[in-house]
Subunit: 460 residues, 2 copies
């Protein structure tokens, strides 16, 4: 899916990966266009004066910013930053474009690359120095409209994970410590990787409140003729999504691609025998591919004559193709094909007359089964605790820990300090929107009355 | 369409522009996928060692390369370049991935941003320090396959200009002096801007020959078991296309958008009078928009009550919307709408029952008329010359000059030196594939036997 690159922390996204990205992009782009959000493109570069305008924001990003200081042989007069995210790139222009209430809402999105020169363990997809994402930046007249959009977008992110990538996620709100630098509040979808016992932030939808509006002077004349500040959101998902998919579904044989995002959903492999009519088998493979493609599936035949069927099986299993169809002399004689599922290795013979119908059922079934299995594994990792000792025990067992706490930033800092290990410290993942009862429950750290239940764990 | 940015040479592409870009992208992406070309994404950054591997190539690009030398507060050990184009980014991996003849052809494309830190007169779309483009990079076993693809892609570029942007272009081959740095030969589509009397390179499709293959060791074992070098192409078109559209079709009132790429093809404006039933007119506008949208057109109504119809006419004319529909009390009574063309101001009344059919005809007609008018103007600028004096006279008249010459690099350098002016020197635009007769014709500069006809002119 990727190739390592000669600059550390940068990776090459090969076509197998880009196809997944493009399928998610097609879905999301169409959905936001329905919401009247429009695409635009702002520059890659940010001038230092603008970048530093919002203090908390720049504190959050400064250590990771890459700086251009030279062009050709000449030093630039002023170094120029590469966007780590585009709030400060865009908002001076929002200030210019927004004058009256009729200019609102302003809802823009861009598909682009961003650079965060991280030094901690670059990992393909999950933590790379350059990545692809969409970033939406919107401005509203009222908090209510902004609040609503935050959740509308978060629901799209849930759908990307659950409906496309077959990965269960939890919707919730980030703690004060973990929220977006300079924002008002952050919501996210959170996934969990059972194998490594670590949580992973899937995508974030932030309400920025009026903080950036204040710094960048984004005001408008409201219907009463008064000057007012806009309410803003920003929201993003990145190629990290693909990394979560790889980690959640992959197995010993390699990748497992959910049918909805697999660039090849069905690979057709001829299985000729010495005395068989090879050409007839190859023709049957081509015919099968054509039938499936015409029915709207993404199918290909692997007719290479320098590899054995067994080699091809392993090859396409490794690449994660959801369904393999084998056609040999017996299948030809019986007017059937043999279908083998990637997710559970189940094999069934499909009469050619039922091909399209049964393949559709099998792909739907694989998509659902991948989600169900992932959810079962994830749920098995969730542990509810109420005391520090239980918390530490669950952390040792690499659980995703649901615990009541007092929701104070100092307490989360304390937990991080006390749990710091090689793979990072435990921290809050999110406070799920779906909250268990808090009645009579105390903070697992301080013993003070519990203010909310949050998921805790080590994370990527 | 754009907004100037606080870093010189960088521009903001607003939604009106991005929609044009996306429409061209949808066309081109689907066409190359039919050709089995796949999308990928390579990093933004290049290490200096790799960048400098192909000598002619780096000489061509070195002065414009932007360098990252710092991240956060730390100096990088080695400065890292931002891609001005991706040959040197990609080809080390082509070398790795291509082993045998079965790995060929390798045909990849990416949609991305590139940076060329030019110091000469940044101009929106035409010459910007960062721009968006697609870049295709392909490798073949034989020269014949590479040659064929060069022309297949060039034909797609012609279609973008002529069928989508309604701009006539000339297909041809670049001179040795003007070809791609490090390439074998370059083909291009060339447009001409009558108002400024300057040519503009529309898009390029290069055959790189085996030059990069040699430098990056991209070899394969052919069917006879021998080691051979691949033949490579690279080809690109950029957001410059949009700039050409603006310059070719724009008039005193503003932009003129060809219907095929206009994000709004039809703007519907209510024209209420004091005593008219305003609500009925607004309803008719909505109904008209719905009918048109359902028929597959991109139509919007401008129902703002704080602007007059006249203000709205000017506003949408400035934005270049191809067709305006006005609905007033008389139209309502007569069950008709009034349609006004942006390209020639022609007005006609359309009975509501014929709405979809007539709007379709009018948009088709506008698209064709824009092309015809642009071609007529362009053709009127073409001047055929055979002597230096005729050449200088035509250059003074800002013509696109077709002249026979001896096709020697020193001669083109000489012409450039002798014609150097404030808006650049005259140079070859291309040698058109469609060549006039060369029989008995001599070079307009040296008087030696003419080897080819080329277009010459000042250019962007």
């Amino acid at each position: 899916m990727i190739e390592y690159y000669d600059i550390s922390g940068c990776y090459i996204l090969r076509p197998w990966t880009m196809a997944v990205w493009e399928m998610m992009q097609t879905f999301f782009d169409a959905e936001i266009k329905k919401m009247k959000i429009k695409n635009c493109y702002f520059p890659l570069f940010v001038s230092p004066a603008v970048l530093q305008k919002e203090k908390d924001h720049i504190e959050g990003f400064a250590p990771e910013v890459a700086w251009v200081t030279k062009s050709g042989q000449s030093d630039l007069e002023v170094p120029i930053a590469i966007r780590p995210t585009s709030e400060t790139v865009m908002y001076p222009y929002y200030s210019k474009w927004i004058r009256g209430h009729r200019d609102l809402p302003l809802r823009l999105n861009q598909w682009c690359n961003v650079v965060r020169w991280e030094f901690s363990h670059p990992t393909p997809f999950i933590r790379s120095r350059e990545f692809l994402w969409q970033e939406g930046h919107t401005a509203f007249a009222t908090k209510e409209e902004a609040d609503k959009e935050v959740l509308d977008i978060l629901e799209l992110y849930r759908r990307i994970y659950e409906e496309y990538l077959a990965i269960p996620v939890i919707k919730g709100k980030k703690s004060e410590l973990e929220k977006f630098a300079g924002g008002f509040y952050t919501t996210s979808v959170e996934a969990f990787i059972p194998n490594t016992g670590r949580g992973i932030q899937g995508a974030t939808s932030h309400c920025l409140g009026q903080n950036f509006a204040k710094m960048f002077d984004i005001t408008f004349e409201n219907e009463k003729g008064e000057k007012a500040m806009v309410w803003q959101n920003s929201w993003a998902y990145s190629t990290r999504t693909i990394g979560v998919m790889v980690m959640v579904h992959g197995d010993d044989k390699g990748l497992v691609m959910p049918p909805k995002v697999a660039s090849v959903q069905i690979i057709v492999v001829p299985v000729p025998f010495k005395d068989a009519d090879t050409q007839a088998i190859f023709d049957a493979c081509d015919a099968t591919v054509n039938t499936l493609n015409e029915a709207g599936f993404r199918a290909e035949a692997d007719l290479r004559d320098n590899y054995s069927p067994g080699w091809k099986y392993s090859h396409w299993e490794m690449k994660g193709v959801p369904l393999r169809i084998e056609i040999g002399p017996k299948d030809l004689a019986n007017k059937q094909v043999r279908a083998v599922r990637r997710d559970n290795s189940a094999k069934i013979d499909i009469p050619m007359v039922n091909l399209v119908e049964q393949v559709k059922d099998m792909l739907d079934n694989i998509q659902q089964n991948l989600f169900d299995v992932a959810k079962h594994k994830r749920d098995a990792c969730v542990k509810t605790v109420r005391t520090w000792d239980e918390f530490i025990e669950a952390l040792g067992q690499k659980k995703m820990i649901l615990a009541p706490w007092c929701d104070e930033m100092e307490v989360e800092k304390d937990v991080k300090a006390r749990t710091k290990g090689e793979t990072g410290a435990a921290k809050t993942l999110c406070a799920p929107f779906d909250q268990p009862d808090l009645e009579g429950v105390n903070c697992f750290v301080t013993g003070r009355p519990g203010k909310k239940w949050s998921y805790w764990g080590r994370s990527y």
